[in-house]
Symmetry: C2
Subunit: 342 residues, 2 copies
């Protein structure tokens, strides 16, 4: 089985975006704020948005199951207050839940949280619990910068985040550390902000003793870990300067990287440098980079091709990357699969 | 000849730091603000700080000449106002000028600029001109985020930066894009902020047409280009989505990467992905990572070992990385060397 641990609902019916635009307009003018009940998307519309997009590509490329969460760039936690984020997160999560009910063999949910700048993260817990307990979601996306590129929250090692971590440990779910749209003109969202956040999150963990407090907490750092594997020597050296243990002991029981790296040399570097037990297959399709690579004739984000072509990974390693590690990092996914005899 | 294009004066005599601390204290209490004349560092002190540190390692490792600029993390443009930055930059640049006069065969200067958040960058031009014309400096370090991790300046493509670029073109000098200390708790200075800035600067150039306005402008992106080479497929794909030319045409006449990547797999990725004409040898020693890599038994930042061990670069390629490209990107360096018959 091939599990893609990083998929977002980037192809939701247009009605969702229209509703969101009305919600945003309603921040300034409450008279135009839409009711949740005004958003009407039928099962057929959901099916069509999936069958012709993600599921089509999964079949073409040969992956079986996607861990599916709301569109990352649309989370936009910086817009409005907690009430706005809370309503929006509930809507987006419910749509992912419906997709996973319509296609139970191919999609399983991960939740966005109703984060809001300056608001205590523990306010996210009711939505988180609903998604896991009612919808059967197997993970969450945690935004280390709900300000959208102004980085006004404390680092992930700060105790303000601990209520989230306590709930994650209790429910045995990991978090993918994933920012949303940048509203800072310095940072292009998918070309700078995403990668910077990955690197930043890793270094926040490196300088802290977070995983002493939460030995079973698990973070998935997407986009191949930002700059981290490419600069693995730098990070090993910085840990050494800071008198931290070796990275494999200090961080690699708790931090995992996905394979959203869109060319063969990048995947080769990742798999050479990072232990195979810490690498989880992912493509983030249909996402930031949708084109065909003229150098290969195949889509940039068809990351399975790079794993297949790897001469560094053995067949056993590839099984870990495709399935074994995902079952270990997402125990609720493993349980859901086993319940189906898979 | 082996030219290291990225060295900072990290080993300046303690008197410099003491003076700076008094200057910072003087921001709140002008009565304690020190005069420039109160900083006294003798030639012997300068010699000692170099002979036992950078020059010792250059001899041990086998590099000949370092492009030498003030300590990056100490630029701290976010501290105080333009007057504070201006005085501090003048002092730091003068020390690098004195080092290059004391060791003319081994060091040549690059200038820090007296940037200050919210202040028009053109105010930096007098210091820049002094360094190039009076001190014989061959480049500058340009900080894309003088706020120190709050990213309050416009992108590098913004016209506010154009006066600097016009002067760079006139004087035919490149800029290394290098941030300073982060005062944002989210970003570790050398483990996150530096790498993020490299990625951010590249993407700012990618989304813009800056090099159409300045076809001969040259930026050196340090630390191996942050996350860029590792995600080269992503950046190629993003350029494609944005209807930009191929990166080699869009950016690689103007953007260059150094080799401050502290492990062999990282250097191998860099040299595999980025055309050899765009890679300049550098170590940034004595810098962020000063330890011995237990996996090799050699210093992490002895980047010459990785270049030497490369099976991707030919002997001719290595000559370009070590010398040829530096002479091309820093024409004033080439002219200074030729004037000495080198």
């Amino acid at each position: 089985m091939i599990i893609d641990v990083h998929g977002h609902y980037t192809t939701a019916p247009k009605a969702l975006e229209d509703w969101r635009n009305r919600q945003i307009a309603g921040i300034k003018d409450p008279s135009v704020r839409p009711k949740v009940s005004e958003l009407k998307i039928s099962d057929d519309e959901l099916r069509e948005s999936i069958v012709n997009n993600q599921l089509k590509k999964m079949r073409e490329r040969g992956s079986d199951l996607t861990i599916f969460s709301p569109r990352a760039s649309f989370m936009a936690h910086h817009i409005g207050d907690f009430e706005v984020s809370s309503t929006w997160a509930a809507i987006c999560n419910e749509l992912c839940a419906r997709v996973s009910q319509l296609f139970p063999d191919h999609f399983i949910g991960a939740a966005m949280l109703p984060q809001s700048p300056g608001v205590d993260p523990k306010t996210c817990i009711p939505e988180l619990e609903k998604c896991v307990k009612d919808y059967g979601f197997v993970g969450i996306n945690l935004n280390p910068d709900p300000s959208g590129g102004h980085w006004t929250s404390p680092p992930l090692s700060d105790r303000q985040w601990y209520p989230i971590y306590e709930k994650m440990v209790e429910l045995d779910i990991p978090a993918m550390i994933h920012v949303s749209t940048s509203c800072n003109a310095c940072f292009h969202t998918t070309g700078a902000h995403y990668l910077n956040a990955d690197t930043t999150a890793f270094m926040q963990c490196l300088t802290s003793d977070l995983f002493k407090d939460f030995p079973t907490l698990r973070f998935l750092i997407p986009h191949g870990g930002g700059a981290v594997p490419y600069h693995w020597g730098r990070f090993r050296g910085l840990a050494q300067e800071l008198k931290k243990p070796l990275l494999k002991d200090h961080l690699l029981h708790n931090i995992f990287f996905d394979t959203c790296v869109y060319h063969q040399p990048g995947i080769d570097l990742l798999t050479k440098v990072i232990p195979v037990d810490n690498i989880l297959f992912a493509s983030e399709m249909i996402g930031a980079v949708r084109g065909i690579d003229p150098e290969t004739g195949f889509p940039y984000d068809d990351t399975k091709r790079y794993i297949e072509a790897s001469t560094i990974l053995s067949a056993k390693d590839k099984h870990k990357v495709y399935e074994g590690n995902a079952r270990r990092v997402f125990p609720r996914l493993d349980a859901a699969l086993k319940a189906k005899g898979k």
